[in-house]
Amino acid sequence: MSFDYTTSLGAAKFENPIFTASGCASSGKELSQFFDLRELGALVTKSIMIKPRSGRATPRMAETASGMLNSIGLQGPGIDIFLEKDIPWLQEQGVSTVVSIAGESVDDYGILARKMRSVTGVKALEVNISCPNVENRGMVFACNPVTARAAIEAVRRNIGGELPIIAKLSPDVTNIVEIAEEVVAAGADALALINTVLGMVIDTNTMRPKLAGKTGGLSGPAIRPVAVRAIYQVHAALPHVSILGMGGVTNGREALELILAGASAVSIGTANFGNPTATMLVKSELQELLIAKGFNSLQEAVGYAHRAESQ
């Protein structure tokens, strides 16, 4: 019997469960010289905003033990140039694509969703709500159930049609299940867990924060247990909502952890920086592992860690 590696997030279907994580594959071109992007379950683009963004000043990065801290500030060309240049290229190449959007206000999310409405050839929309809300003292949307809900509602109202919405949540909250329930109630079809964990590194030579933006997002293997925990908790509370899991996955065994916790697909982020072919390694290793453990499909393994002790 052949192994079924396909997966779905809401109504979106994918050939395999290995994706790139937004912000860790730019818009695809740069990685295309190392492997065939059509081999990905999906390429998730860098979160795009309404206008061009210079991002933050440097230093933007600090390597940490089994991780890295970054403060890029969503540098990008803005949605219009993105739709004019990057999306057509991905479509020409036949790459399964998920577009990630990010806003600074509830209205921004609505405008971005409207712009995406007429775009064909995109599998799903990831809504990055781990951004400062300029209308609420810079508080991150994803850290408050009310603003998280408002951002997703704005997308839902404006997206129209069938494009599934994946809400990307921050782990920097007291109760991630509460936020997950709110965004699902607001119309999210799936959840992306987790974004980076807020951190800081102080340079002991200059005796100041190392990053120009002072704080940054921690990613890489250091945060994997945080991701596994968040996915496990949310899957337990919302077993019918599919999860795109991410957080420090570098190989097949680590991807399996997220699948067992309840993820239907796994994004590879920081591992791409250390190894441009990390996605392809994870893809083949995970499939081999699932087969070796006796699963007939990826789907059978999703959330398998939740089974009763007697099973």
């Binding site: 860790c24 740069e30 210079s54 440097t58 990065m61 991780g67 591992a271």
Partner: protein, 281 residues
């Protein structure tokens, strides 16, 4: 984006300590044929299970293509951090995961010109290969190397032979002229009627050279060193403000729009701030 970039497990052919540095040779196959002075490689460090998750970038010192898929890349590595110390502990026969060639290369003039090559510390590495190419085009090549002390000057014998003159400066005066490379530049530019400067080294040095190059109205191509996470253009950490042909300043990635850039186009004095008027600010 360097279209020739590829990823390979490469064998360490040799590893020799030279002063404060290690001269290392890697068997890289066809990668060597596409490697040009100014290009760099990114190497995985630490081995399996390491806590160092990011590659380390090194300017290519020399690349030699022996045809039939055989080729070598040489690097000059300073063991100053955990990652580079791991790399310099590799022995002949060890395998390392290497991505290259990456980034832009020094532009080679079509006419025989008078070139001044300026290197700081191990930043001298890519300049010797460049010097050989320039000499092959009939250029006059003068070189200035600077470092904190004599131990940190990287200038192998064969390198010295490839230049018309070599000036050395050290901060502590333990070799050559006491002081910085920038102290001797103006005079060298005038005496040798320099048309173009090629440089590689720390950012402060490149900024100082740019000032002099602008004053003396000399072209200046420099290879910049900015902290990178990926080296292949996806992480957006190694950016710096550069003025484009259209006059607009953009935050460009030094890994794919550099490392070799026109010094005059870089907004050097933007420490920890986005310069006013930058695209998207």
């Amino acid at each position: 984006m360097n279209k020739h970039a590829s990823q390979a497990l490469t064998e360490v052919v040799s590893n020799k300590k030279v002063g404060a540095y290690h001269h290392m040779v890697f068997s890289v196959g066809q990668m060597a044929a596409h490697s040009k002075p100014g290009n760099f490689v990114a190497i995985s460090v630490g081995g399996p299970g390491t806590s160092m998750i990011l590659r380390r970038a090194f300017a290519i010192y020399r690349a030699s293509d022996r045809e039939n898929g055989v080729g070598y890349i040489e690097l000059v590595v300073a063991p100053h951090g955990q990652g580079s110390t791991w790399l310099t502990s590799r022995q002949s026969g060890d395998l390392v995961d290497l991505v290259g060639p990456l980034g832009t290369a020094f532009g080679i003039p079509t006419e025989p010109v008078r070139a001044l090559l300026v290197g700081g510390g191990y930043g001298s590495a890519p300049l010797f290969g460049l010097s050989e190419i320039l000499k092959g085009r009939g250029c006059r090549v003068d070189m200035v190397l600077g470092a904190s002390s004599a131990m940190k000057i990287y200038a192998p014998l064969e390198g010295k032979r490839s230049v018309n003159s070599l000036t050395i400066t050290t901060d502590d005066g333990s070799a050559g002229i006491p002081g910085k490379v920038s102290d001797v530049l103006a005079e060298l530019i005038e005496n040798n009627q320099i048309d173009i400067i090629y440089s590689c080294g720390p950012m402060g040095m490149l900024e100082a050279i740019t000032k002099i190059a602008v004053e003396k109205d000399v072209l200046h191509q420099c290879a910049i060193e900015e902290a990178m996470a990926c080296g292949v253009g996806i992480c957006m950490t190694c950016v710096l403000p550069i003025r484009g042909e259209d006059g607009v300043v953009r935050m460009l990635r030094s890994c794919i729009d550099g490392p070799v850039v026109d010094g005059e186009k870089v907004i050097w004095d933007s420490k920890r701030e986005i310069p006013e008027g930058t695209w998207g600010s």
